[in-house]
Symmetry: C2
Subunit: 527 residues, 2 copies
């Protein structure tokens, strides 16, 4: 009953190799005996510019071979190719899935056209051809957007802001972000800026996102309070939106850069939704290096051999951990302060893509899908929740991310080692501790070991490496969706909340949900 | 076999009511039928200044009654009282547990003495009696610390920074934090400040925390590069440390404020570890209001009636969800941008306290302990991982936090409602959606409902309310430790990583762990 039709795959538990994997999951993988130097050399994948070690995962040769059969049977590489070819892969919404096209070189598609427009626009801002309404240069940019228009661009800006070159001729704009409908968010950010020298980007595909529209309104009313005439708004506000959306209006915005329905918010960091704010704040060159890195990983993800394709290996290992070892969570721990907001982006990317209960034909599945993704940077996390990861009653697999070198060059020796050496000593010590543990006559000082981890690493967190990391995770999530036979590209689970919110705000009392009304009463009638 | 000795309680699964709770867990709690207006009014606890609704938890009268029996049997209130009375509750390390004493009014203990010293010191900084080495006023403060010296104070500063009153006569210092040993952390923060006008706080109880000592060194070397003579360090560096630690040295530091071994890092936000940076940056008055709020919750936590004690109800509901409904994670979602870093603090507080596998007598337990805590602010989280919470294959209980009013007063109407009204409509809509769900002929648009949540709320996130929230969680975690019969106050799980790190950095090759060495090779020998 093998499955050869890429658009009509089988459920994971109907795969021919599923029973075999279930049997394999009963054997104990003892890392304490398996973990030789040879294994650490062998269980390693290089997809330039990244390296991926799976030596400390709960895998052996037989399991990896069987996971390869699963990948083959579920046709994941053919489906990826179908996606790249523009087949309708988001079947629920009858849409293509085209985020890879934003970083595909030597093409001139819709996304690339937007990118050149963004390149030209940021050049004009950086060389002061485009200035604020009082004639001052722009020195800061505020992205107004939520979800995919916020978490990805914010994580990437945080990751790469140390590369802004003040001496390079362009004027980098300091980036800030307003996302939450909580008025404390917008009000605080606006208290930190000068309106005269700030460019605002309104980001909403539909042009109607409640949070983003409301925040645009607060920003514009506050700008007016601080002296900006309404007639000057057009000089300070641009938009990233769908063509023809209510926001696509040259009367209100200096310019519009376009996104379309074939790229979901959580996959939009390399589209205009990320390109605009990142080109303005980091420079277009840096953004382009990020695209190059992402494309490299997209290319490597085409390899059907899981031992050569880190995105696929990570996806299969994730399914192994989730469905066969029954582990419901996954930690992502970057040993890099620059990646401090990257786990929050990955949490969205993974949980919104694969937190699903129905298959491609809208039938409930009988197995677990996307795990809970969470994380904070190391070494900070060691002083926080690592106690639970080491000695808690659950096993939580960890994906570590590390770099041989730091981004900034000042890295002095102190107490016999540099900070970067200490950072990496900590990283390696943790991988070792989780894998091999430690016996102790005091049970409170015992570490069971055999707690699985993988390590993704590169020489340095450059823009290219950042792009590669982003694409690695996007492709891993995509492959897992294929393996689980779910649609990773819709998000019906966010709809009910929207409907109920509008009911509370705009319907007559009699047509409101009674639970909602009772809770609103609680909040509104505090003594 | 009931348990009457507070210092020698039984394991959870040996409690007399354990089998009864296991049987109760087999019945289906259907919120769709149970959730009446009456239930929403009844399943509500007020412990000033907070309110706690458990109407949308998977509880009914019988379960609550039985959980009350469990609390009584496990002697949780007596044990809390013993802790307040200074009994040795951290048995592994033979220490008292005294964080409640930091906010107990009308006493003059060690902690209160430190607080008055901090009050006087910040007054001297704010009235410019204490200035930088070039005679300029201090305008910024940098906390150098990690774990409990970082996450709690940072979360509280983020929560309350909108209350800084510039007109109030004192000079508030803008706070920044350096935690990670990654040199990119310190280097970036230092690129944002002026050394002449910055006061640095070195926070480490032992005075020997690797990250914090290393960062102190980077800060001081960089200060020197920017022209501060070493002889001026004493004017710019203060310390919060243990009395007699290597850092408690008036030759190197302007002054030392003291912390001691009876308060663990994750419980230290209301001690000098939080008080110093928060008094300097927010003003001592604001910090004192926070202490008042925390003390109010500490008092209410003494009530043995779970229907009157929200910390206890939340703790018991957590044990119900974890051990009887078998749910391994818990989301904390504050509908408040000001609380954006509070979940990271709670993640440390809970996972480091209760991520344990041995009981008070160091014997392995046969049941699950502390869950995985994670969260991001709403409404942002709605556009991120809420898809998984609504439609994923796991059930993840949620603790929502909400406020009737925003912190800042500018909250204009737009499209028929203010931002705060929209924020709370979203909050209530989500609680409703998780509880009652929605049927649909399309399974992809179906919401199962019966996904449990609780709601913690107050009029406004004031300093007092912030203190109450902090103490609510501290006390909930403490009660859960009592119920599980584990020691919530040590952290042996962080030791092995430290040992291995030092081995990698400072031992001869031959005495190093071979796994560590092989991984260090990978990172160091990139082509």
């Amino acid at each position: 009953m093998s499955n050869s039709n890429p658009v009509n795959p089988v459920n994971l538990d109907k795969a021919v190799v599923f029973p075999e994997l279930s049997i394999l999951a009963e054997q104990k993988i003892d890392l304490k005996t398996l973990l030789t130097e040879q294994r650490i050399k062998n269980f390693l994948i290089k997809n330039s510019p990244l390296y991926f070690s799976y030596a400390t995962c709960l895998l052996n040769k037989e399991i990896v071979d069987t996971l390869q059969l699963l990948a083959d049977e579920q046709n994941v590489i053919n489906r990826y190719q179908a996606l790249l070819n523009g087949q309708i892969m988001n079947t629920g919404e009858t849409r293509k899935v085209l985020h890879h096209a934003t970083r595909s070189p030597n093409t001139n598609n819709f996304y690339q056209q937007q990118l050149s427009r963004i390149r030209d626009f940021s050049a004009s801002v950086h060389n002061d051809s485009i200035k604020g309404y009082t004639g001052k240069k722009f020195t800061s940019v505020v992205q107004i957007g939520i979800g995919g228009s916020d978490l990805g661009p914010r994580a990437l800006y945080t990751a790469l802001k140390r590369y802004v070159k003040k001496e390079k001729g362009h004027l980098p704009l300091k980036a800030r972000f307003i996302a939450n409908i909580d008025p404390d968010d917008a009000n605080y950010i606006l208290s930190q800026i000068e309106f005269e020298t700030t460019l605002f980007i309104f980001v909403s595909k539909s042009g109607t996102t409640q949070e983003t529209l409301t925040n645009l309104n607060i920003v514009q009313k506050t700008a007016e309070k601080f002296g900006m005439p309404r007639s000057a708004f057009r000089k300070h506000f641009i938009t990233v939106t769908g063509k023809g959306s209510p926001a696509d209006n040259p009367e209100n915005f200096l310019t519009s850069f376009y996104i379309d329905e074939n790229i979901g918010g959580r996959y939009s960091s390399t589209s205009a939704a990320g390109a605009t704010v990142l080109s303005l704040s980091l420079g277009y060159d840096i953004f382009q290096e990020l695209l190059i890195g992402a494309h490299k990983l997209d290319e490597s993800a085409k390899n059907p051999d899981i031992r050569q394709n880190m995105s696929l290996m990570s996806a299969l290992n994730g399914v192994w951990e989730r469905n066969f070892l029954k582990l419901p969570c996954k930690a992502v721990i970057p040993y890099s302060e620059a990646l401090s907001r990257f786990p929050a982006h990955l949490q969205q990317l993974d949980c919104e893509s694969n937190g699903k209960s129905v298959n491609m034909n809208f039938k409930p599945v009988n197995y677990q899908t996307g795990p809970l993704i969470f994380g904070e940077p190391g070494t900070n996390a060691q002083h926080s929740f690592f106690q639970k990861l080491h000695q808690g009653t659950d096993i939580i697999p960890i994906q570590f991310i590390g770099f041989a070198e730091s981004q900034t060059s000042y890295n002095p020796q102190y107490n016999g080692a540099s900070s970067q050496e200490k950072l990496n000593a900590n990283l390696v010590a943790q991988i070792t501790a989780f894998a091999v543990g430690k016996e102790d006559s005091n049970q409170n000082k015992t570490f069971s070991g055999n707690r699985p981890a993988s390590l993704l690493y590169a020489r340095k967190l450059t823009p290219e490496v950042m792009g590669a990391l982003l694409a690695f995770y996007e492709n891993t999530v995509m492959f897992q969706g294929f393996l689980w036979n779910i649609n990773s590209f819709d998000q019906e689970g966010v709809q009910l909340g929207k409907v109920l919110t509008n009911e509370i705000l705009f319907e007559k009392e009699s047509s409101k949900n009674q639970t909602s009304s009772a809770f609103i009463d609680l909040l509104q009638n505090l003594p």
